[in-house]
Every structure is written in C-alpha cells, then in structure tokens.
C-alpha cells in the first residue's frame, strides 16, 4: 500500500477566517458535502466570544474508519486571516499544505520548509466578479470551498445539490452567486495546481442511515417528543441553541392548526434564577418543564435546585458545559460541572445526572430526563457540552417508538384520592423512598403545602430533629434508588484485561480511537463509559475488576474520578486520571499519551513495592 493511498479519507484540515465574514456557511457546506459523499466526518467550530472581527477556525476531520474525535494535527490549513497566518502555518503537519489568499503577498518569513503553499487570489477574483462590498467579502469565503473541492476531490455535483436545497425557490439569486464563487475557486485551482492532493475524499457509503445534527438541536427535539410544555431560559452560550431548536420544533409540531394557538409556553426569563423558578413552578403544577443553561447559570440556580430537591419537584435542567471557572472561556468546551451538578445547592443534596456522548444521546436522554424527573420527583440534569451541543455530528438517524408513554410517576388524580382516607405528600407508602404527589387543582383532598423549610413526612412545618431526619434520609434512599434507572454504563470487555479505561460524555470517540492504538501494543483494556449518576453497581464492579482504571475526562480537577471515589467503594490506588481541559475537545492522542505516561509511573510503583 502506498502512502498516498493511505491518505484517502484519512486526514484533517482547518480553516482560519475572521468572525462574521460568512465562513460558517462555507464550512458547513464543506462538512455536509463530505457527509453526503458517505464518508465519516466531523467538524469542530473553534470560535471566539465575539460578533465580528476576531479569528475563528473550523476543523474538519475525515476518517474512513469512523474515528472522528478531534485531532490536533492538520494536513491542510486554509489561512484566510492574515492575523493568524503565523500560528496556522506552525500548526501544519510536516508535508502539509497551506491554502492562502494570494491577492496580497505573503511575507517570506512565514514560509516553512516541508509545507506546500497554495496561493489562490480569492479576494481578487471575487472583486472582479462581484460588485457589492459585503458580497465580495462573503463570496471570498465561499470561493475557498471551491478551491478545496478541487484539492480534496469533493464532488461538485454534491455541492451544487446542497446549494439548491438551501437556496431553492425564492433565494435563487443566492444560489447563482454562491455557485459562481465556488466555481471561481474550483477552476482557478484546477488550472494552476495538480489536483487532487494525496489527501482527498473518495465516496463511501458509511452515512446511509445517518444524519448530521448538533446536540442542542437534538435535545430540543427530544423535549418536544417527551411532551414538554413549558420551557424557561436565559440566553447563554453555548446553550441558547437548545431552546432555539425547541422553539422551531414547537412552531412546527405544537401549533393548533385551527386556532393558531400554541401547545407550549416558552418563556425567556430575566435571569437563570427566574428560569429555574419557572421550570420548578411549572413542574409543581404538573407540566413537563425544562430549562437550558451553562455552568454559570447552574451556579445561579443553586438555591432553587435545593428547593426542588427538598420539596421534590420534577424538573429538567440541561447544562451545556463550557470552560469555567467564572465567565471562563464561553466558546470553548469542558466537562467542568460534573461535581457542581451532582451536588448542586447548599446542604445535603444529590441529583440525578445524565451524560450523553453525542447528539443522538442528547435526543434520547432528553426523554429519559423527563421520565426520571417525574418518577423520582426531583431535578434531573442532562450534562452536555459545547462540543456536543454546538458542533454538527454524524449520528444514526433518530428513531421514535410510538408505544412510548410518559412516565408521570406516582401521581394521584381525583379518582385515586377518593379511594384513600387522607393524602400525605411525603409519606413513603411503598417503601421505595418515592412518595405520591398530586397536581394542584385536581381535588380538594390532594391539596398540600410545598415548602423548602423543614417539613415532616405529612408535609407540615417542623423544627424537630427526628421529623426532619425522617424526610432527608428517605430522600437519600430515593435518589440512590435511581442508580439502576439511569442509563446503564456502556461497557466493552476484553478477555483478561488488566486495565480499564473510564470516560464520560464526548470523550467517548477519542477513547475508542485511543483503544485501537493502545491495543496495537499488545495490552488489553476494558472500557466503560458512565452515562448516569448515581452510579449503579456495574460501575463499582468494573472499577474493582481492574488493577488500574484510567479515568479520561475534560476538567482540571478530575471531577469524574472524584465522583467515583466518593460514590463507589473503589480504592484510590486503582484510579488514575487522564485529563484535557484547555477548552478543545478530547483527542485520541491525549488519551494514548496520558495512558502511556501513567502506565510508566504505575510500573515503577509496582517495582518499588515488590
């Protein structure tokens, strides 16, 4: 096999542009074209917290084996932003290609050996073709799509079809101008350079049953399918698009055809506190309600989360994590809220958390979250992150089982209440720690007083130790009882594996890719991805079965490892961390080098103790 052949459908490239110049649509078009060609692909938008003017990048990885975790090594870089030329050139892999706008000369000092510079006068050709100033800027970015199509052998017919789908009908003039710009880039490169490059796309059929979707859209869709009727939110990156998605789907699926009235209330709150309050108020009144936010919002919601936990109000909280602490880096990704969400609010609390790995699980877990919130009468968190939430992922088509019925949990309606002598809100009738609840307005017999202050199992106010303990101890039993109801850990076993890898959420792709690489060296590894909290016994068993478990996560303080230590019986000596928390998604390289490094340390320690 020649080296050239090897690079077909196995490379990564990156596009550096200026924020606000229309590059998002150009990059999306490239990604979607490769997807339509049936090739596994991923796109990571590395963007600034800015509306216009700052540098922004889009990374695309193409991999025929389906490994599409972020890879921090680029074979080709499209450098459209002179401000980042130097950095972009440095990030190129040896032997790579740099595509740049040659309308202006590039300083010789930037030239690097072993890198092929491909100059295309994109601005120049767009200035001669288009008249309006704004159009010239936008089309310059569209034109590099054409240049890349030539270099990477992306099917122009596919691109044309996608443009027709986007600009069909009334936006026909946009279709023409976009395709003209693409053709300009394409033709120029074909005329002046050898095409395609050794890194190129060849059609496959890996995506026949897949879609390209971001996690926030999928979660918003899940909320519609789950039957959520109240959504409250305060705008915050990177969670805003979840409610945007929900709103768009509600317009499509929740408007009464006759009256034009809506079967959903979407309330933009004045802050995250109010968003939490609205969610809890609606949950208390019987609706499936949710809010979507990021870490800063969860911090603000703290007091309310304790109320919902203690007063036992079903409510769903999406936390689309971003880099903290404080404002942190709002447009970078992290898994920094694992501990925050697990124990949010003052006093003794513990919350059910779900950890989707990709948009498909965002859809699925959105539905699960509402079921668990109502079954356990408590806040439920879905912890996604910026990478999952805002980037487009290739995932299997979402499916729906029409037999699904919402699990409303233990709700007594007026008829049920007639059959009992007296209703007490917080009584553990069934011995599972889950009391019965009623919905306001259903029956005078169902009325009760909800409070965040100390209460007895009968719902009355108390300052008595024993009466207080009875309730909070039951709450702990109730939440721990959810361990087997949350999505089970996904476990991949190898015979006689000494080591375990453990990960969470969006790290999954990088770990799976890393496992392939690590196992080429002969060692066997079992792999577990936790998907829910509290942890089930399966989690403990997995950890106990390995002399060392490498816990892969995206935060500085090893929060998943801390949770595992706190909530399982595994000893500290069996856990080691592999961390990446600089704000970019986990890569296989990180995992492999992290595990190797830790193994080296581990071997030495063994030697010392023997």
């Amino acid at each position: 096999m020649t080296v050239e052949l090897d690079r077909v459908n196995d490379f990564a490239f990156k596009i550096g542009t200026v924020n606000g110049t229309g590059s998002a649509s150009a990059n999306g078009l490239l990604m979607q074209s490769i997807f339509r060609m049936g090739v596994p692909v991923s796109g990571k938008n590395v963007f600034p917290s800015n509306i216009q003017g700052l540098p922004t990048w889009y990374e695309i990885r193409v991999n025929r084996r389906g490994h599409v975790a972020r890879i921090p090594r680029f074979d080709l870089i499209v450098a459209m932003n002179p401000a980042t030329y130097k950095r972009d050139i440095e990030e190129l892999a040896p032997g790579g290609w740099l595509l740049h706008d040659s309308s202006w000369p590039m300083a010789d000092t930037l030239r690097r050996d072993g890198v092929t510079f491909i100059g295309v006068p994109l601005a120049e050709i767009c200035v001669s073709e288009f008249e309006a100033a704004r159009e010239r800027i936008l089309m310059k970015n569209i034109a590099y799509t054409g240049a890349l199509a030539a270099l990477l052998d992306i099917d122009m017919e596919v691109i044309r079809t996608l443009l027709e789908e986007t600009f069909g009908g009334r936006k026909k003039h946009l279709l023409d101008s976009n395709f003209t710009a693409i053709k300009l880039g394409y033709d120029y490169v074909r005329t002046h350079y050898d095409c395609p490059l050794p890194i190129r796309v060849a059609p496959m059929s890996a995506n026949d049953d897949s879609i390209l979707i971001d996690g926030n859209t999928a979660a918003g869709l899940g909320c519609v399918f789950a039957g959520a009727t109240v959504a409250a939110w305060y705008p915050i990156t990177p969670s805003t698009s979840l409610v945007d998605g929900f709103t768009a789907f509600a317009k499509r699926f929740r408007v009464d055809e006759e009256t034009g009235l809506s079967r959903v209330a979407i309330i933009q709150a004045e802050d995250e506190l109010a968003a939490a309050g609205i969610t809890i108020g609606a949950g208390w009144a019987g609706a499936r309600a949710f809010t979507s936010t990021s870490g800063a919002g969860i911090s603000l919601m703290g007091e309310f989360l304790g109320l919902a936990y203690y007063a036992e109000v079903p409510s769903v909280f999406f936390d689309i994590e971003r880099v903290g602490p404080s404002t942190g880096m709002p447009t970078r990704t992290q898994q920094g809220d694992l501990l925050l969400c697990a124990y949010a609010s003052h006093g003794d609390t513990k919350h059910i958390c779900l950890y989707p790995r990709d948009p498909a699980e965002c859809f699925e877990f959105a539905v699960t979250a509402f079921d668990l919130a109502e079954r356990y009468q408590t806040p439920v968190f879905v912890l996604s992150d910026l990478d999952i939430g805002m980037n487009d992922w290739v995932v299997p088509k979402l499916r729906w089982d029409d037999r699904y019925r919402p699990d409303r949990g233990k709700v007594l309606d007026a008829d049920d209440l007639e059959k009992i002598e007296k209703f007490y809100r917080y009584l553990d009738v069934d011995g599972d720690g889950i009391p019965y609840r009623t919905v306001p307005g259903e029956s005078p017999k169902g009325a009760y007083f909800t409070r965040g202050s100390g209460h007895t199992k009968y719902g009355t106010y108390t300052e008595d130790s024993d009466e207080y303990l009875e309730v909070v101890d039951r709450l702990l039993r109730k939440i721990n009882g959810a361990a087997d109801a949350v999505p089970a850990p996904e476990i991949r076993s190898r015979p006689e594996a000494r080591f375990g890898l453990v990960s969470i959420g969006g790290c999954d792709g990088a770990v799976r890719e890393a496992l392939d690489e690590l196992e080429e060296e002969g060692e066997r590894y079992d792999y577990m991805r936790v998907r829910g909290f509290p942890f089930s016994q399966d989690v403990t068993r997995f950890l106990e079965a390995h002399e060392m478990n490498f816990v892969v996560e995206q935060n500085r303080d090893a929060q998943l490892k801390s949770l595992l230590l706190l909530e399982t019986t595994v000893g500290k000596e069996r856990l080691a961390s592999v961390l990446s928390y600089g704000g970019l998604p986990m890569s296989a390289h990180h995992v492999v080098s992290g595990v190797r490094e830790r193994l080296g340390v581990g071997v030495q320690q063994e030697g010392a103790s023997a």
Partner: protein, 362 residues
C-alpha cells in the same frame, strides 16, 4: 411544637357561600405571627374575599417567598395547594405554575423585603409579563424575622426602633408598578378591611397582574413613634381616593351600592360613582371618586399619588385598572386548555414525523 393546627369544630349556623362553604373552610393553620400583626388582618380580609367570591379552594394556588409575609400563605385556604418557595423568587414560581395551568386562581403573598430588595427583579418581570396573579405585598418597612432592619420601602426619615433614621429613598411598589405597566394597582391598609376586601376580590378576578400594596404595621419592630409604617401614622396620613365595590359578571349591579363601610360611616355624603367594566364582564364601582382622579389613566394616577405623597399623604384605594388587560397567556398565544394536562398525542409528533424530519439533517 412547631406547627399548630386549628380545631375543626364548626358552628352549624355559620353563613355559607354558594359552594356551601363557610369562612372557616377558607382558613388555614394557626398564625405564628406576633399578636396584632397587620398580616393577620390581611389574611382575614383574604379569607373574606375568596369566601365571598366562592373560589373553590382546590382551584386556588397560594404562592409565597420567604419572610413573615410569606408565612401567611399557610394561614388561609388549607384546602388549596400552597408553595412557600425561596426568598424573593415567588414571581418565577408563579410564572411557571401559571404557564402550566392557567385555570387556577393564583394568589401571591410577599413582603417589602421579599419584593423590593432580594426579589425586585422578579417582581418587575412578573409585572411586565402581566402574569395572571394577585400579588399582595404586605408592606411594613422592616425585616421582622431578622429583627428590625429597614427594608427598601422604609421612608426617608422614618426611625427604627433604636431611633436610627432611614436615609435612603424608598422604593414605592405602587409607583413602580404604574411605571412598569401593571394593569391593576391598588394600595390599602391592613386596618381597613372594608376597603381591602373589594380590592382583593377585584384583584383576584382581574385578568393579569394585580399589585395590591397593603401597609401592614409590624407591631414588634415598626409600630413606634417616628415610624411612617405604624398604625397611628398610617391612620393619620391615610387618603382614600375612592371607595370601591366589586361585582361578579353574573351579579346584578345595583344603581347605587351601600358599602359595608357606610354602616359605620353614614355621615359620608353620597358622591359620584363610576363603573369600570372588566374584560370578563365583572364591574368595579368607584364611589366618592376625587374630582381630578381617573382610575383608568395611568399617568394621571401617577401624578395624583406623587402630588399627595409630597404632602405626606398615603393615597389608598384601587388606584389604576386597565380593563383591556391581556395576560401572559394571551401574549404567549397558548391554547385555552391547561398545558400540563394536554393529551400526549397532541404533544408528541410521533415516529412518522420524526422520520420525515430526518431528511432535513442529511
């Protein structure tokens, strides 16, 4: 003992409303507030109002924040759902509950600390949303449970029990509400049940946010000489803009009505009356309307209150009402049925719709 239930012995000849319920049926647990607390009088007025309106107790929801005032949600309507939430955040709980079930009567109970300091933001936005909620602000100018600190409604120069004057200007919930576009604004006094009951009735029936600021002296921390929220000071500086009466849509509105107050204040000369018909057909009748007062003119109401405030007078009564009020659901454009109870089939698009939608993500 930290919770006191009331004995359930009911006199057989107690008057019943059209639901066959007595006032006792609208009571709650025993108040644990100080004897003489203005809040207890407000609770009594509230019981009278909901009894008279024959609100089915289980179709009402009582919501509150934290503080002495917020405790009172436990002291009435024990057959209603109640939610004593967190400090200053009752409006958001109300917004959510109301979004989920628009058919309940929502009674919000708050205080001056709960509303004007920690919860000022939520109050403002509840007003902007025109939540269908009666919002009782039991206003005593102090924090009681933490022993007498000034609240944001304390007047400049009003003295604390230790004799320290307040130097910061007050936030007036009535002026604030008028500024923010509240559709129903009233001020009353816990010591004037005759004025308060019809205001409460009208506020409960109002379709939208009804701000009812009730001066409610704190007998323990703010009822001394030098306080501007004491019983004595309030009585002395009290200016009733108009007597009001409230009539349900199906009630016959008399040509002239004799408010209960007239039984003891028969010396009041009969004056002008003015009827304001509300959106649901109910009628608020204003009697003895000051010549220059128009309760449907927001700007005029604001100026009138400010003018009299400058003279040290506390203007009371139903001060402003917008009969064409559109509540939050009207703005949101939600269906008529309570959202929480919609059949799942109407909410879930189903597999066919999902399959079709997937084409958009290819």
């Amino acid at each position: 003992m930290t919770h006191i239930a009331k004995p359930r012995v009911i006199h057989p000849r107690l008057e019943k409303n059209e639901l066959g319920l007595t006032r006792r049926d609208y009571e709650g647990t025993m108040s644990t507030l100080c004897a003489g607390c203005g809040h207890d009088s407000i609770t009594a007025a509230l019981v009278e109002a909901v009894w008279d309106l024959a609100v089915p107790p289980h179709r009402a929801a009582k919501l509150s924040g934290i503080g002495c005032s917020s405790k009172t949600s436990a002291y009435f309507m024990s057959q209603s759902h109640g939610f004593n939430s967190v400090h200053g955040r009752m409006p958001s709980i109300a917004a959510g509950a109301n979004a989920a079930n628009r058919d309940l009567v929502y009674i919000g109970i708050s205080g001056d600390g709960d509303s004007l300091s920690i919860g000022l933001g939520q109050l403002c936005h509840a007003i902007r949303r025109n939540l269908n909620l009666i919002y009782l602000l039991e206003n005593n100018g102090v924090y009681g449970l933490t022993k007498g600190q000034f609240s944001a409604s304390a007047d400049v120069g009003s003295k604390s029990r230790r004799g320290v004057p307040n130097e910061q200007p007050p936030i007036d919930p009535v002026l604030l509400s008028l500024t923010l576009g509240a559709t129903f604004v009233a001020r009353s006094f816990s010591g004037d049940k005759d004025q308060l009951v019809p205001i409460l009735k009208a506020g409960i029936r109002h379709s939208g946010f009804a701000m009812v600021d009730v001066i409610s002296p704190c007998v323990t921390f703010n009822d001394h000489v030098g306080s501007t929220k004491s019983y004595a000071h309030t009585r002395e500086h009290y200016l009733e803009v108009a007597e009001t009466a409230f009539f349900e849509p199906d009630e016959v509105v008399p040509a002239d009505y004799v408010p209960q107050a007239s039984e003891i204040t028969t010396e009041i000369a009969p004056g002008e009356t003015r009827d304001v018909r509300m959106h649901d057909g109910s009628v608020v009748r204003f009697r003895h309307v000051a010549e220059d007062y128009d309760p449907t003119n927001r700007d005029a109401a604001y100026q009138y209150i400010r003018r009299h405030q400058a003279r040290g007078e506390v203007v009371t009564g139903l001060l402003f009402v917008d009969p064409e009020s559109r509540d939050h659901h009207a703005v949101l454009g939600t269906v008529r049925e309570p959202l929480w109870d919609l059949p799942f089939d109407e909410l879930c698009p189903g597999s066919e719709a999902l399959d079709a939608l997937m084409a958009n993500y290819r």
